[in-house]
């Protein structure tokens, strides 16, 4: 069938009278019935998600302290926030943490998933996938404690190994640069397994014929990875990068367990700063203003994801 034949058929069907369909039930009643189905989830969503956001937005313009009724202070919290060196530092450190952890965890997950999907669809592959998923389901607090122990300066296993090979011990968590780096790397270790599963599932959807055809054309494994795997996984990669970015901006437990934000505030992230303001200094209004900035960042990241996915 040619394109002109298809067009003619469509034109003919458009000219013929429309078939008589059975009378539809009244639209209004149908809509109301549907509404009742979504009401429970809407109520939960409103109470658990929308209400706290709206209340936080309101509190960000007050001097709320949890224990005392709030007074409206207008934009004072935001003015104070942007003049606060501690907040700017927390924002910058969160950004650095994100820049280290997101590309690394994405790359590790992609490479391992590609190796498993192309070369190890067997029990070994299953074992690797399961092993890498263990950190994902482990508690962040336990992970932080275990890595703290492993990276201990004087008694840590990592330093014992480094000394064995003649490198000498490193004060991983006691220096500003290494502390932030280590927290970022532990995040990669924790998250890579989750993103690996997503990538692996995405790779199973890539038609095998593409690889077969490219093999016939003489493409090797690396070329197939660059020219078939990576382009085919573009939406998945986008999702993983955006998700990883959002998670990175929300990091709290790991930092709190491993460094408590130290040394010398070198690992204070945005959420750690929010926690300190809200629950140590009882400045809930100020903490809410910080939370709204975090919300704006996360919202922007989510919006960018939708925009980029729609473009494709």
């Amino acid at each position: 069938m040619t394109a002109s034949q298809i067009t003619e058929e469509h034109a003919a069907s458009a000219r013929s009278p429309a078939p008589q369909l059975p009378a539809a039930p009244p639209r209004r009643g149908k809509s109301l019935a549907g509404l009742w189905y979504v009401v429970p989830s809407m109520v939960i969503l409103l109470l658990a998600v929308v209400a706290p956001i709206v209340m936080s937005a309101y509190y960000s313009f007050t001097d709320y302290s949890l224990l005392r009724s709030e007074n409206w202070v207008g934009g004072d919290n935001y003015r104070e926030l942007f003049a606060d060196g501690g907040f700017r530092r927390a924002l910058w450190q969160t950004f650095v943490y994100t820049v280290i952890s997101v590309p690394l965890q994405t790359t590790v997950a992609l490479v391992v998933a590609a190796l498993l999907a192309r070369r190890s669809r067997n029990r070994f592959g299953m074992f690797v996938r399961s092993a890498m998923f263990v950190p994902v389901i482990a508690s962040m607090v336990i992970i932080g404690s275990v890595w703290r122990y492993l990276l201990g300066t004087d008694q840590g296993v990592v330093n014992a190994f480094l000394e064995l090979v003649g490198v000498g011990s490193v004060n991983w968590l006691g220096q500003p640069v290494t502390a932030l780096l280590v927290v970022s790397l532990v995040t990669v270790w924790k998250n890579a397994g989750y993103f690996l599963i997503i990538y692996y599932a995405g790779m199973l959807d890539i038609p095998e014929e593409l690889y077969e055809a490219s093999s016939i054309d003489g493409a090797g494994g690396v070329r197939q990875f660059w020219c078939i795997t990576i382009p085919s996984l573009r939406p998945v990669t986008l999702l993983i990068v955006i998700l990883g970015t959002i998670w990175s901006f929300q990091v709290f437990d790991l930092v709190y367990t491993m460094t408590s934000g130290g040394p010398g505030r070198a690992t204070v992230t945005l959420v750690v700063a929010i926690y300190n303001a809200a629950f140590e200094n009882m400045q809930m209004g100020y903490a809410s203003a910080m939370a709204m900035v975090l919300f704006a960042i996360v919202f922007a990241a989510s919006f960018a994801q939708r925009l980029l996915l729609r473009q494709k």
Partner: protein, 410 residues
Amino acid sequence: MKANRAAILLAAATGVGLAAACGGSAGEADSLDLWLPPQANIANASDWDPILADFEADRSVEVNVRIIPWENYEEAYLTGITGGEGPDVGLMYSSMMADYLAQDVLVPFDEYLSNADVPDYLYLEEGAVAGQQVAIPLVVGGVRVLYYNADLLAEAGINEPPATWNEFLDAAAQLTDAGITPLVQPWGGHSGMLNENFFPLLWQADGELFSEDGSATAFNSSEGEEAAGFLQELMDTGALSAATLSMNPDDAESQFIAGEAAFIFSSDARYDNFSDGGFEVGLVASLENQTRSTFVAADALVMLDQCPDKQLCTDLVTYITSPEQMVQFHELAPYPPLSTGEEYTAPEIFRDIYEEEGLLQSLPIVPGSVGVYNALHANLQQMLLGQKTPEQALADAADEGDRALETAQR
């Protein structure tokens, strides 16, 4: 899965705020809620049953004890009180007490003490603020002392433990020469570690944390600089290793117990652990500079404004802290006596320390003090990292601390 703790708490707080707006009561006069942390061998609410039994029977009231782990102690109070589900009576530490007092959540005992059977307290002034009896101490203990490993000192040729700052520096140098780590100090933890890492040094230099009225910091002074300078000297001379900045209290303690360091500043509550270390352990109550002084915790019972019967709550507090009940309490938690009618049952080795006039200091009750301690801790860390001089660290901490005080006391 990735929901963070702060976000959850923030949401919970707003959630309970909504709930509170819908109503709810603090409790009935026939029952009282008492919130306490775990203490020594007291880990469960049922451990308090024998202590509270007579009060419950005599006053026909049920006392519901809730033991809250230290890890989320203040959060539990914050969310509980905000939601109208807080306690009628609870135990607070000084910095916590100050903030709740500033928020008008606590009710002073003065009006009700005259009608109560009040023991002859030894530390009542620790719970007084601006002439009001805001709290009644329940636990005065956890004194910070300098422990030493006598075997390691002997190995380095040190026959007498140091008594002054200079003697300590000399001993540290001798230990370093002998290849022994002189001191382990946990600077990698939270600001609560200042209780042993810095406050005693400040007081020994004759410095103060706050101005008399508590409206400003006072540690940015020549005395403060002397204390911070001493710390810096410990770092520069190798008495403290660089690892100190990543060390938490458990790390420091395990190294001392393993015989890897000669000195540690720690609480009297840790004495049993240290004495099990397989070496001869000794202690110095306080090093001397301008004076001798060290930290002691004074955690106290407070009455919250939601208590339905203030006299009953006051009676509960005086009952718990009476010599008869404290005997039972101290069997499980061996702290020094609270009143003159009580026998000393804490470890004998600390008796002289608790009885020495003017040696022990607890933290003053100042609203906003947590912000001050956090600022001081972070800036001293930066000093030990070599990012700031002692003068810069104290000046920056004072700036930030004064802002925290101003905000809290506004």
